[in-house]
Symmetry: D2
Subunit: 388 residues, 4 copies
């Protein structure tokens, strides 16, 4: 097996972007529970996000969600983030919380709704100019609940036209990242339900259009690492939205439901060159901390990705290749499992300390008193959530 010392350089390069909305309240259709200390403003979300980077050293940027994170002065927001030690990252558009989008946004039959949705994305591009963001991430809630409700084919063509209009306004250093999702909130047909559709749509746009793979957005049983492999092979894996699921899009902490699956995904990332900065793969979290503490939930998530990436890097690829070439089924599998079952935590703790970071970021954050402080300080105002 590879020695841990030989993978630290690549681990250092692994940056995990955190979503501003993870620090606000979230829930299910049944109930959103609020918690003391929840941010009221974008700035407070960034303050919380900065804690994650402070204790892990691995989460240097924060993704924003427009309009949830709309501010008057993005330059000031950028400075605020920099003051906290983090940068602003991907801009996520939102066309699912306005009454206008009840029957679709970029795919809508109604030209007014579609116009509003395109204009929203053009506005996001402007914001990206101000924030210095590279990526415009588009996840669409568009779809239908009943067979016949929409003309599936026309929606697809309409989507292509809408995306082309947005793509035409991209700056040279900007990218359009199209996410797909199996279902929800649409319960019959989703307009971008699978990687194939996202791939076909972005391939028609041009080189700066890529796919976002959310690990919770697949049919039961889907081999996700295969898709990672394929999108890297086709040069279109733009981003990950990490989280985990037992059933549907549960948005649990990444690695919580099936750690071995996360390992296999990260192994294919390594195999396919996805850790190479030139590959342009953005590693992001997209989770909902419905019942657990939010900042610790994010720290745990960043650590999970980091620990599992370490395991994936430890795989003895020479031994693996030899076993594969010999069709030694058990031997090849054992090479993978050996890395997976290795306890990398002591190595990572020591490595963190060597870099001036706490050995145990979870414990260090708990000891910092930050959570108590914000619970005491953030009184009044309206807690942030998906509605704002």
């Amino acid at each position: 097996m590879v020695r841990f010392e030989d993978v630290t350089t690549r681990l250092e390069g692994l940056a995990i972007e955190v979503p501003s909305w993870a620090y606000g309240n979230s829930g299910t259709r049944f109930k959103v529970f609020s918690t003391p200390g929840t941010p009221r403003t974008v700035e407070e979300k960034i303050d919380d996000a900065a804690q994650v980077h402070r204790f892990t050293g691995a989460a240097p940027t924060v993704a924003l969600h427009i309009p949830w994170d709309e501010v008057d002065d993005y330059a000031a927001l950028r400075r605020h983030a920099a003051d906290q030690g983090v940068g602003l990252g991907t801009i996520n558009s939102n066309t699912f919380q306005d009454d206008a989008y009840k029957f679709g946004s970029l795919t809508a039959a109604d030209p007014a709704a579609r116009r509003q949705a395109i204009d929203h994305h053009l506005r996001c591009l402007e914001i990206m100019g101000a924030t210095g963001s590279r990526d415009l991430k588009i996840w669409l809630a568009d779809g239908s609940n009943y067979p016949g409700q929409n003309d599936l084919r026309r929606r697809q063509d309409t989507l292509a036209e809408s995306l082309a209009e947005i793509y035409a306004q991209l700056g040279d250093e900007q990218r359009l990242v199209l996410e797909y999702k199996f279902f929800e909130p649409a319960f019959y047909a989703t307009d971008v339900p699978d990687w194939g559709t996202s791939y076909a749509q972005v391939a028609a746009l041009g080189e700066r259009a890529v796919v976002c793979l959310d690990t919770g957005h697949h049919a039961p049983g889907t081999n996700i690492e295969f898709i990672v492999m394929q999108l890297l092979r086709l040069g279109r894996l733009g981003a990950f939205d990490f989280n985990s699921r037992f059933y549907a899009d549960d948005d649990l902490i990444v690695g919580a439901a099936d750690p071995f699956q996360l390992f296999r995904i990260l192994f294919e990332v390594v195999r396919g060159g996805g850790l190479d900065p030139a590959a342009g793969v953005a590693f992001m979290l997209d989770q909902c901390h419905n019942v657990e503490d939010k900042i610790p939930g994010q720290i745990r998530s960043v650590l999970n990705v980091q620990e599992m990436a370490a395991r994936a890097l430890l795989v003895d690829t020479d031994a693996l290749a030899a076993a594969q070439a010999a069709n030694d089924v058990l031997g090849a599998n054992a090479v993978l499992m050996d890395a997976f079952y290795t306890d990398v935590r002591p190595h990572l703790a020591a490595w963190r300390e060597s870099r001036g970071l706490p050995a145990d970021p979870m414990a260090a954050f708990a000891a910092s008193g930050y959570q108590h402080r914000i619970a005491a300080d953030r009184v009044g105002g309206t807690q942030a959530g998906w509605g704002a």
Copy 2:
């Protein structure tokens, strides 16, 4: 095949209870869309529910949800319903929208939360006395999102104790109906996830405890009609919550996603004697009309159950038994399919007219102007939804 004239008596006996909450707004975690005319009060919900019965003649009772439908004077509410031509039906408890229940209700480790949940159910029993309701339906959101969060075994024992305390207070004519659900809102473990658990729990209580089968609450691929058969065989099928699903608990209009499945379910109901009033099976809807019109959505649902029950009743059971005895696979299947593919709609239209009902309830309701009237009249106030 059986003649339609020979099944009308049994069709007349088929009453489908509608849920008060179907007339309020509902949605997903992403967005709840509001619509003009949505009820602001329990009385207005009942008014809307009464329309469904008026046009179909098949929905004589309305289920209530406590505390959403709490009123000061249940006797007055009962009179209001009677004035509209309908009765009050099942009382549905709710222990998922209070902060106290964040970590469970009847299964909670916290004695205070558990006490509050039991008391809520005892209060529901009181209300049932006032409304004349037979059934207390219990659906629990209790569960956990992460492995280890709860002690699964202790929760099960705690649930048994809580249910026993409630069961002890049941009146002689009252029943406890325990619903199960595969997942959501809990994303790792649900405390009553399957029919087996619900059955084991109610069997331990006594004869007046039965199971509620919600057609959307199963793992992908589950053969639901088998469960219908088994629960009828075991004497514990207390109620249906009808709806349909493509993916998770989509709560779509019953029969919309897989009409043939609805047919098979109703065939097993007929086969197992479930249409016999003595069987005590309550037929209820539990749906969310997120994007479609609510009252027409309910009328469509009642008609779907009625039409499919008609097809199920048309099955030539003698021919079926003969083919089954002969292991004539295709022949036996053809007997079922013949009934399924029969267009019962003209028969039902004529039969409705013969009973003083509109031949086409959907068209008749649309022509009635009711929807426009409530949209114009119901101005101001707060539209009802899951929160109230």
Copy 3:
């Protein structure tokens, strides 16, 4: 709704190809049951297939499976088929029943296995010249059972190379049709698991490479009609393998498990121009009659596709478009359901008679005595199955 008389021309154009292997024995890994009268030779399979066409008038060609259907003289086989009133259709390659392919065929790491697999396909192209077949259908069992067993990325590249070598030998009127399958016989990763992979592979080959959609080869919950729509939109829907499933790749009679899904699939075929001969979509059956009679099973299947195509053609597309444009969810859905619930069987019976066919092909075949005749005549020899 459209009148039945207005769709008969398009129905007449609907030809459903039957597979030679449906007349041989098939089963599960647990047991293959044999039945009296099962064909011993390719000629006898064709004789049985011809019965399906004789009684339905809708199954004019028979697909062959190589090497199961290898003969010395394909010209003679072609004449035999013609004498029975049918033609030879698609050639299906087989690289899953030779020990050489234990670890893969076109994707194998072992050059010898890969060479054998490519040569097998080149041999199939030769046979196609002799049989006059247009399509070479490739379904690969290639994959792995354990993580690490194969290098997923290399397998994909190897596949591309293998396909390119085969594609280069295609005649001008020939096509390469690449099927995808979610899982089985591989239990961890399949080398062509989804439509996206098949699409990416065929798009890299050229215009005469297209995708085969087997209706049983998807993850649970997959919206198959969406894929039909997308592949037609992208110009790559080459063929259907029709069958139906409750759980995995059950290979049941098409339309048996979810008739409404079959309706939606055929509606998207109609919507996307897939019934137009110029579209080049081949409609084939691929089923296993494990416990039911084989020839009646095939007749039933052909009728199911035909009946459901009739319903799909009856959809009032003007009314549908109007309801869709108005975002009338229930109205649009009702247009579809109206066609689905229409009993087309009497219309089809009359139409068949008008064309000199039996009104009820199932009854007519049963009355023909053919099954008894072959059971009596086909004594001795080795019954055909998947092994031969």
Copy 4:
């Protein structure tokens, strides 16, 4: 966390029964690959099974499958096993490979088929007397492929009658263990599809009837550890059939597909007292080594269960209980994960050596030359498989 030294006593008590049929050939419906050295006789299967115990010290008994393992003299077979250092374990009946059972066995409508099936089980009881086996394990392939094919209700009643007849013949120390399975080989309805059905059937029989949980026999997404908890709570968990799955009943090496799930299952076993010999839970493997080496596949499987049981025993249950009581979601989860991520392999290696076993059983077996020896020696004869 618990110290490894404190769990070794309980680990020593963990015996994993291996199935005789794992050493024969198995495959899919597409192909069964043979391998050199495959046993030709029951005795050779036992010889191979004994190797697993020799190198792991944890697999002291071998389950037999009747009629695959029928011999004339069971006393001699028992001595042969004892000479190899192992015992004979569970007797598995088989009513799925005789033409008589095409349409069912214990549930069959045909009295002759049902009689044959009951008699087969009575014969198994006799064999158990000779082999000294405690458990009669019944897995039924009974079911149907098409709706209507069977009368689901009657089949259930017939099953109850058949089981009662068998149960009545059980010796005082014998048990009837009823397995359930979601689907396959039946593709529409399985007569014992879920734990609820198995539980209801065995509860009606008496105390010596218990449930067998095969980890691959559930619907996608099913929380299996919940069922483990529930069956232990109800006192009816009789046995495990361990294996793992990505999709259907893949029968892969236990722990290969989702090691964290295996951990959760074994944690619930520990939690519920299932490791206590008094609980009577039999731990068995039921796997198919289609493409990997068989004896190493079995050794790997035994080690996987043993390693994961060690991790489950290491859970700090005091810390877990404290975190659960405090509703500390992340803290409670972390207690579990801490044990899961602990690398127990060095501890187990040392422990094995301390008991005179090889530190690395896989390597030791490979070095033993046994595989080469049997490949060279076992020439001629018919290799064992599912058919014999």
